[in-house]
């Protein structure tokens, strides 16, 4: 007898339906699995065999052929265990009900229970867009399945339950949960008010987030650069449901999704500086995986000790920083992952870390400092609009009890500035925040009065700024003006913007 069951294969974040066909015929006893399965899928035979037997069902002893169609898509992972088992049961006549149009995914344990699998959310979204309405997923995946409306998802615990469900026993579909509720259950562990002092750096963070600018924090070790960076997500506007789904999709495929089933907090990723270019950007030989920059999508990518990263890893960031997405191309195909994040980098001002410190003497020569800084290439620095110095906080300030501003207050200002930008760029296609502006938009939206032009010109001469810094300063000035709710860029906005340009100076040290 022949049976057909529908499952789903993921390619990147998108997928295609997979038909699991089983044919049981007379002949020599055998079990063939065809249709480009990887090792995990090939090994499913043993799991399926034990699971069927331990679910008090019968594993047919005949000539069995299982085909996973389409034959040219690689099938990976354990998610085909369930459809293969169900298909065997149907083909052997034990299950007579019609399972057409039900998409099944799940890995089987030897005792017949269903184990959670990766990538359920992108499967549901992709399958829903192809018109599928009914799904069977492992109970462990119920969380992420509960945020998609308009489909029926049955989260089942065992193969036996699946068998009963398909035979007609009624089961409750997964209840749709609201994203708002999930949001209220989570919180970032830090708050801007926990950071003592550092008002300059906090202000710079506010500007960076308001305009979507990338930011570089330079300061001696132990000054709280990491803590400041951790606060960036707390002042970013809350994620919308659509944004949350984008982020959840990526983490779901990578198997990093938590209990909640949806990511309601903006991601904050801190890859170690030994990270390779591939681990940052994504890749892999047979299955292309998302890299850290995609996992930081809609959030913050924090690169601590920027000059310690390998040159190739840093240079690979340039294009995604520009485009907000990355296309990973391998012989097996090309996959585009989103990668729209705020880059926050930190570094010491010099190799010994004491440059500019009031207490300690810096022992580095100017040549050493130049060499250290030159590890960050000009083109990369070009994409970092704000460069701020974080200075050592004195003990008294640390111990003081004057609480700083709360993240929520800063967030309110950021949201106002973002609203202004949304309105401004409503006609533009690829621009949503000030940092995305190209030369054309700068010309259009950042007209400078003659006063501002004069100040900018003198600043360039006086402070020996490099020509690259110009558009960066104007963009930052635009954001500062937005935070100020000012229609036009005023001289003071330009002036403040020039003070965040520590590394542009071509001045001799």
């Amino acid at each position: 007898m022949l049976s057909k069951i529908t499952s789903y294969a993921l390619i990147g974040l998108d997928g295609v339906p997979v038909e699991v066909e089983t044919d049981i015929n007379k002949g020599m006893v055998s079990y063939e699995l065809v249709g480009l399965p990887d090792t995990a899928v090939k090994e499913s035979k043993e799991r399926v065999y034990s699971a069927i037997r331990n679910s008090l069902l019968h594993f047919p002893v005949n000539k069995i052929t299982v085909n996973l169609a389409p034959a040219d898509v690689r099938k990976e992972g354990g998610q085909y265990d369930l459809p293969i088992a169900v298909s065997l049961l149907a083909a052997s006549g034990q299950l007579t009900a019609n399972a057409d149009g039900i998409v099944m995914l799940g890995e089987l344990a030897l005792d017949g229970s269903l184990r959670a699998v990766n990538g359920i959310l992108p499967v549901l979204i992709s399958a829903k867009s192809r018109g599928y309405k009914k799904f069977i997923v492992p109970a462990g995946n119920a969380g992420e399945a509960s945020y998609i409306e308009g489909i029926e998802v049955y989260a089942l615990k065992t193969l036996r339950e699946t068998f009963e469900f398909l035979s007609g026993t009624p089961f409750e579909p997964v209840k749709v949960r609201s994203f708002e509720a999930a949001k209220s259950r989570t919180s970032y562990g830090c708050d801007l008010s926990y950071v003592r002092g550092q008002a300059m750096a906090k202000r710079a963070l506010e500007i960076a987030v308001a305009g979507g600018h990338n930011i570089l924090l330079a300061g001696p070790p132990g000054t709280g650069k990491t803590m400041l960076a951790r606060c960036i997500p707390t002042i970013m506007p809350d994620m919308t449901f659509e944004e949350a789904l984008e982020v959840t999709k990526i983490l779901s495929v990578s198997g990093e999704l938590g209990e909640e089933g949806i990511v309601s907090l903006r991601p904050f990723r801190t890859p170690h500086h030994t990270a390779s270019a591939v681990s940052l950007c994504g890749g892999g030989s047979s299955r292309i995986r998302a890299g850290e920059i995609s996992k930081a999508h809609r959030g913050v990518l924090f690169l601590d000790e920027l000059p310690e990263y390998t040159r190739s890893a840093l240079e690979a960031l340039r294009q995604p920083l520009e485009d907000g997405k990355i296309t990973v191309t391998r012989s097996g195909g090309a996959i585009t992952f989103p990668a729209d994040f705020i880059l926050c980098a930190s570094m010491n001002p010099c190799p010994c870390g004491n440059l500019g410190s009031k207490e300690k003497q810096c022992n580095c020569t100017a040549a050493q400092i130049r060499r250290y800084r030159s590890k960050i290439s000009g083109p990369l620095l070009d994409r970092i609009d704000l460069q701020v110095e974080v200075d050592a906080v004195k003990y008294e300030e640390l111990a003081g009890d004057a609480d700083g501003e709360k993240s929520s207050e800063v967030k309110a200002r950021v949201e106002r500035a973002r609203a202004i930008q949304r309105e401004r760029f409503s006609a533009e296609e690829s621009v949503t925040v000030n940092a995305d502006m190209g030369e054309a938009q700068i010309k259009k939206y950042c007209r400078l009065t003659s006063d501002c032009e004069n100040i900018l010109r003198t600043a360039f001469e006086r402070l020996s700024l490099s020509a690259r810094a110009r558009s960066r300063i104007i963009k930052v000035a635009r954001t500062i003006a937005d935070l100020d709710a000012s229609e036009e860029i005023r001289p003071k906005h330009i002036l403040e913007a020039t003070s965040y340009r520590n590394f542009d100076s071509t001045k001799q040290l």
């Binding site: 300059m200 300061g219 500019g356 200075d391 006086r462 003071k492 002036l495 403040e496 003070s499 001799q508």
Partner: protein, 358 residues
Amino acid sequence: MSYSESEIDLIVADSIGQLYYNHKKMLLAATNPFAEDRQKCESQLIKIFGDGVYNKVKAQFSDGKYRESVLADLKRRGIECSTFKSADYPELLKHTPSPPFVLYLRGRRELLSTRMFAVVGSRRTPAQILEECKRYCSELSSFVTVVTGVADGGDSAAISGALSTGNVVCVLPGGHDTKCYPNVNLYKKVESAGLIVSEFAPTVPVQRHTFTLRNRIIAGLSEGVLVVSGNEKSGTMSTAGYATDYNRDVFAFPYNVGAAAGKGCNRLIKTGANLCDSIEDIFLALGIERKTQTVETYDEADGDEAAVLNLLKEQGEMHAEKIASELKLKLTDVVTACSMLEIKGLIVRTGGNSYTII
């Protein structure tokens, strides 16, 4: 460029690599038929090198082809020489205990016969001192030629100040065509606008001890030396030491107690150097009278800027957040004011978001 026979003698003697300063001196005497101590020098050289080597060196020295090749090489490299016997060899340097036989020159040779004043500083010079040093040199260079090295920090600031008039002489610690410093850009600028001097033949590499040798020339060329910064053990101290030996005026910037970058300066002052807190100190010693000072005209600072400026005048160096809390201003306003003042050239950032007045 044509040289007289005695000048060529000096250039050729200087080009023979394996000879030390004294050897060269003796070789010159030994090969000069009119020298009184000719016999004595010759026998001493033979004693030092042995017959064979001495004769070889002597033969090389008087070999016509070799002599031509040395001159041709210099010409090819675009280097001119001012020898001890040349008319424009600096008079002050000539009267030091061990004047170089040859000064290898690139740039405006005429600067050699001007009045010179040395400004030296260490690599690690605080930002506001760099600004100050630049300003001093820019003013000094309208009257005298500024002599300095080519290192980062104090020297570079002196050069960039003096480049406004081009009256600047840099003394190298090695040959012209060896890479002594990373500051290639600055070097090129001095080469075209000012003058670069070295006592070493073009390919002699820089070595540890050549820096001190070079310092004696900086001190020897100048009428006085201003030390803008320097630790107790830095090279600037050796320049100041030579200057004292040669009876030149030594000036030093005063520093705070405990400031590592200025320990040397303070010690100089303690041991009798002139404390320099105004450029007039130097002009007075040089006997130069300036007409009315030209002050750069900028709009007067007003409002917040004036408040910040006054506070910095009182307190010296201050952190931006401290300024804000002291003046009860918003931090953004302070940052704006500080940026403006920085652009106007009235204050300077000293790292770590602190500002100080110039």
